[in-house]
């Protein structure tokens, strides 16, 4: 039997352990498409988090009422409702941002991250847990999109969030604004993340081995005495 996770753990796991982009490889389409600048990435992630939160909560609440044969259709209807809200609010309040993100806000409906979390988590757990899971995944998504957006904006247009960072002598690299730059950035980020995780794991294992040896040595000397 697996140990029950606390709410905080449900939240944290979305950022690191099962980070939607880095580990589950979900929601790659907006990750690659809208991260031309950091602010676009943040806006996209916030819109996605909003939809993710409310749809997870809703699905979790009515999870026992949905017949399993038509569950996907039901999820999509719920998700589409919140996406419509997000889209209309953005159009009314932040028209410039809405224009910059283009069709990617309505496309949150088919973002596999949201459907993935609904299917894998919200439909099996209580509303409070589903809410924290959604928040954690949203936070993980936000962090990755912000990092991607910052890197691409830094090399593609010398700024981060509109602030000039690199000097004018630096010629902006067009590739970082193009899709190719998004793929390269994401690939390198995933690679570094995996390398780091591996290293941490290896260190833990080595520590265990070291401690074990120390203990066994101690025991053998005791026996000798």
């Amino acid at each position: 039997m697996k140990k029950e996770k606390t709410l905080l753990q449900e939240f944290v796991k979305g950022i690191d352990e099962i980070n939607p982009v880095m580990k589950q490889a979900l929601g790659l389409c907006p990750t690659l498409a809208v991260t031309v600048s950091a602010i676009n990435g943040i806006a996209m992630a916030l819109a996605t988090t909003f939809v993710l939160m409310f749809s997870s909560l809703m699905i979790s609440i009515i999870r026992k009422l949905i017949p399993s044969q038509v569950r996907i259709a039901s999820y999509i209807v719920i998700i589409a409702t919140f996406v419509t809200i997000a889209d209309l609010v953005m159009k009314a309040k932040f028209p410039a941002m809405s224009k910059a993100l283009g069709p990617f806000v309505p496309l949150i409906v088919v973002n596999c991250l949201i459907l993935g979390r609904a299917e894998a988590f919200a439909s099996k757990n209580n509303p409070l847990k589903a809410l924290f899971d959604a928040l954690g995944n949203g936070a993980g998504f936000l962090i990755v999109l912000f990092i991607m957006g910052s890197i691409r904006e830094l090399f593609g247009s010398r700024t981060i969030l509109g602030f000039h960072i690199l000097p004018h002598s630096f010629e902006p690299m067009l590739i970082m604004i193009l899709p190719a730059g998004a793929f390269i950035t994401l690939g390198l980020l995933m690679g570094f993340k995996n390398a780091y995780t591996e290293r941490v794991k290896r260190k833990e294992r080595e520590d265990i081995v070291k401690n074990y040896r120390a203990v066994s040595k101690l025991e053998s000397t005791n026996q000798g005495l």
Binding site: M173, L174, I175, L188
Partner: protein
């Protein structure tokens, strides 16, 4: 492979396969390739000035530094002396346009080695030719400066002009064949002089470092496919001779497509690889939006080399299909 013969009185030699050794190691072959590239370096200096030597130098230097740094970080043996990083640097430097900025050159060299080669695990594991990866990156990152062609030193009046291929593609201007042959045309610094490349390339084929099948099949392919179009309409499509001498064709054929790591290992596979490269080159040159397609043709075919190797594997005697 080392044989265990520490004590000469031992009669029995122990070693793992391969048991037949060549006199040459990777190191020797790499330095032969470097020397085969020297004529192109000289032609670059003659036609585009001494500054190009600095560009090539920066490219080589940063390739070596990047390789050593990554090996150091990964705690692997530092294998810079095998010359593969030098070759990547040289190749990258030679396919850049004249008077290219030094910082961008350094960036391209770092990208070539880091992303083109070391990310896959180093020499022998890379899928794509590292120098071409670097050039493709620079092409996408700085499209304007990568297509600003300074005139060679012995050309008339203008400061910049179109390369023979883009002159043909966009303005229907033919370039004189002898200029193409000597290299007195605008283009990437190492690729313009056909004669310099042929000296190095034929040297490599003659001493057996480059398998003749790859350059031969690419050249034959271009002659055949280019010839078909030329026969159909000689005014609209260029002659096969122009296709052979213009642009980066010869340089790519002899030095890029024949990279040991990224080309097929079977004879049949080499023919397939070469013909496909030439077909893609002709398609891009005649019908694509770009004037030159050698780089992309080689990169595309590099990506299918494992597949070619698998399907052209020789059958074990008696094996059923």
């Amino acid at each position: 492979m080392e044989t265990i013969t520490t004590n000469p009185s031992y009669k029995l030699e122990l070693s793992s396969s391969p048991h037949i050794h060549s006199r040459w190691s990777t190191k020797h072959a790499m330095w032969f390739v470097v020397s085969a590239l020297l004529p192109s370096v000289i032609s670059a200096v003659i036609f585009f000035g001494i500054y190009q030597l600095i560009v090539i130098g920066v490219s080589v230097l940063f390739s070596i530094i990047t390789e050593a740094a990554i090996k150091k970080i990964r705690k692997k043996e530092i294998t810079v002396t095998d010359g593969s990083a030098v070759i990547t640097g040289l190749l990258l430097g030679l396919v850049l346009p004249p008077n290219f900025s030094l910082s961008a050159t350094a960036l391209g060299a770092i990208f070539s080695i880091a992303v083109g080669k070391e990310i896959f695990g180093g020499l022998g594991y890379n899928i794509f030719n590292p120098a071409l990866v670097g050039r493709a990156f620079l092409q996408a990152a700085y499209p304007v400066s990568m297509t600003t062609w300074k005139n060679p030193n012995y050309a008339v009046d203008t400061v910049t002009s179109a390369t023979p291929l883009s002159a043909f593609k966009f303005d229907k201007i033919f370039t004189q064949t002898e200029n193409l042959f000597l290299g007195n045309v605008s283009g990437s610094i190492g690729e313009t002089s056909a004669i310099a490349i042929l000296i190095g390339g034929i040297f490599l084929v003659a001493i057996g470092i480059v398998n003749y099948r790859i350059p031969l099949s690419i050249i034959l392919g271009v002659v055949i496919f280019g010839g078909i179009f030329w026969i159909i309409d000689p005014y609209k499509y260029p002659s096969p001779l122009f296709q052979l001498l213009a642009g980066g064709f010869l340089f790519g054929t002899f030095f890029m497509a024949t990279d040991w790591v990224t080309s097929p290992i079977t004879s049949k596979g080499m023919w397939i690889y070469g013909f496909c490269i030439s077909l893609i080159i002709i398609m891009i040159r005649l019908f694509g939006g770009l004037p030159e397609g050698v780089m992309y043709a080689i990169l595309i075919m590099n990506s299918v080399v494992p597949l070619i190797n698998r399907y052209t594997r020789s059958r074990i005697f008696g094996e059923r299909r």
